[in-house]
């Protein structure tokens, strides 16, 4: 039987204002976890029942460590940020499908927006060939060094212009004539929608990691649906179970 695990926190640091990186000693899942999957974190904040879905950012099989990076946006992530090294946290996972890495693909474009960047680190680690990473942030970019360490060429845009190009990922895309076998992306929905359009126009396949409010996280409650289409038939898929990663052409974007 699968189960929730109580796992030990071995690191929990603020890497940028309001953004934390947490390392979990999580032997049970490092073997099976894939880039693009997520875990359900059960935080101890008072009156809170639902788990917080957070993407896996890195998997370290030697050290049995799972890394996640999260933004403090509400009471659950606040409670998480206050946990100390040595504390235990209840976690369920790995959940969801993760990115699909086609064997024959050689040229990869990876696009992350804000707190959508973390799951792409493990992805880049897994990719072989030419990897270009495009990251957009409001300000204060994160994880740039990690992406570089795994051999990617990194392009950054910030809305305040503090680092890289002033603007967002869409602005970089407009300028470039990207050649790639596959686009992988995670970030705010308007960005993903723009990528989907770009991918269609340029005849490139794109994978998008979607986000939705969840309850169970395992496909039982139908809380987290995403409208998708197969040929002309529109269908509700579950972001937690059928996703979070979808092919951009599957997703019905106009809502």
């Amino acid at each position: 039987m699968k189960q929730t695990h109580k796992v030990k926190i071995v690191d929990n640091v603020e890497i940028s204002p309001g953004i934390y990186k947490i390392d979990l000693l999580f032997k049970e899942i490092v073997e099976s976890a894939k880039a693009g999957q997520f875990v359900n974190m059960y935080t101890n904040s008072s009156g809170s029942l639902l788990p917080r879905p957070i993407s896996i950012s890195q998997i370290n099989k030697e050290k049995n460590v799972l890394t996640i990076v999260y933004a403090v946006v509400g009471k659950g992530t606040k409670a998480l940020s206050e946990m100390k090294i040595g504390d235990e946290v209840k976690v369920l996972g790995p959940l969801g499908n993760g990115f699909n890495i086609p064997k024959e693909a050689e040229n990869h474009i990876v696009i992350g927006g804000g707190i959508g960047a973390p799951p792409l680190v493990e992805l880049v680690k897994q990719l072989k060939g030419n990897i270009e990473v495009y990251l957009g942030f409001r300000s204060n970019p994160i994880l740039i060094e990690e992406f570089k360490e795994y051999g990617a060429k990194v392009y950054v845009a910030t809305e305040d212009g503090s680092v890289g190009i002033k603007g967002n990922v869409r602005d970089i895309l407009k300028e470039k004539n990207l050649k790639a076998d596959m686009i992988y992306s995670c970030g705010p929905k308007p960005m993903l929608k723009a990528i989907a359009k770009y991918a269609t126009e340029n005849g490139i396949k794109a994978q998008v990691s979607m986000e939705e409010r969840m309850a169970c996280g395992i496909g039982a409650c139908v809380g987290c649906t995403c409208k998708t289409k197969k040929k002309e038939e529109v269908q509700n898929k579950k972001v937690c179970k059928d996703g979070p990663v979808f092919y951009s052409e599957e997703v019905v974007w106009n809502d």
Binding site: K2, R213, C216, I218, A220, C221, V222, C226
Partner: protein, 303 residues
């Protein structure tokens, strides 16, 4: 531990224990079946099914609130035909009872689902009357005693399996509704469904749910659920399945003391995937502690 007798009987169907899943929180058991041994459950109550597939509401459909959550799933389901074809064979692999929750927009809709289930290998039907009656201007079936009696009677007439009627708490007089369901022929009652609620994102100045309102469930509603079970248990003679915020054995025992024959665990699954099994074990622990041999010895027995 001694082995207390926790079998219960709901309309001639014997459950090995009083713990079932609350409709809509457990799918058809497939997903949670990876976390709990479905053979250990008294019954699996499946997600509501309708005559045809329903799309449900737009997202966000989920909002957490203090001690509870709101959902506006809107009864998305694949329709009864697909359910019969795919989910019943799956569930029948397990030694547990199958209770099918049915939804409809008109009396004819409900009857059609019940008819399609005549030949299906299931144990009980649970009629979810917290649905708008399209032919009556969208008034919720479950809020009007006359409509409750009428829909219960109509479905009872065509259904082959015993009928549980599931009551909505969004009424002024739950006892009047319960009595109407019993007059209509309900073999058992289950209560409560979710309480209508709302949550607002003050930063966006918008409701969190795309549907604006949704059903509140979880520990926050337990006192209301318990009160309603208590009132109804004292007013009707059919067995009652109590639910609303049950997360552990103590919660379940409270409902049994209030008069419930069985209980259902819903929202708690989201917080703890093995909540159903934990509830069963903890009910046994309670019985052990107080030397209760038989659940009947405490059911409705407040001192």
């Amino acid at each position: 531990m001694t082995n207390p007798n926790i079998k219960v009987n709901i309309a001639e169907v014997e459950l090995k224990n009083p713990v079932m899943t609350a409709s809509g929180t457990f799918g058809s058991g497939r997903e949670y079946g990876e976390y709990v041994d479905l053979n250990k459950l008294g019954a699996v109550v499946v997600k509501g099914v309708a005559k045809e597939p329903w799309d449900g509401n737009p997202t966000p459909r989920i909002a957490e609130t203090y001690g509870g959550m709101l959902n506006s799933v809107g009864l998305q389901n694949p329709g009864v035909d697909e359910f019969i074809e795919k989910d019943i064979p799956f569930l029948r692999q397990f030694d547990t009872k199958i209770i099918v929750n049915i939804a409809g927009k008109s009396i004819e809709d409900y009857c059609e689902v019940a008819k399609k289930l005549i030949k299906a290998d299931i144990d009980l039907i649970e009629l979810n009357i917290s649905c708008p009656n399209v032919k009556a201007g969208g008034v919720n079936f479950g809020t009007d005693p006359a409509m409750v009696e009428e829909v219960t009677k109509a479905v009872k007439k065509v259904a082959k399996q015993p009928l549980i009627v599931k009551l909505t708490p969004n009424v002024t007089d739950i006892v009047a509704i319960a009595k109407a369901a019993v007059r209509g022929g309900a073999d058992a009652l289950s209560l409560i469904n979710t309480l209508l609620g709302m949550a607002i994102d003050i930063h966006k100045r918008k409701p969190i749910l795309a549907n604006t309102v949704g059903g509140l469930s979880g520990p926050a509603i337990k006192p209301v659920a318990l009160r309603m079970v208590y009132q109804v248990a004292n007013a009707v003679d059919v067995p009652i399945i109590g639910m609303g915020g049950i997360a552990n054995g103590e919660d379940a025992v409270e409902f049994i003391l209030a008069g419930a024959s069985a209980v259902a665990v819903g929202t708690a699954n989201f917080n703890n995937p093995t909540a159903t099994i934990d509830v069963i074990d903890e009910v046994k622990e309670y019985m052990d502690k107080y030397n209760v041999e038989n659940l009947d010895d405490i059911r409705g027995k407040l001192l």
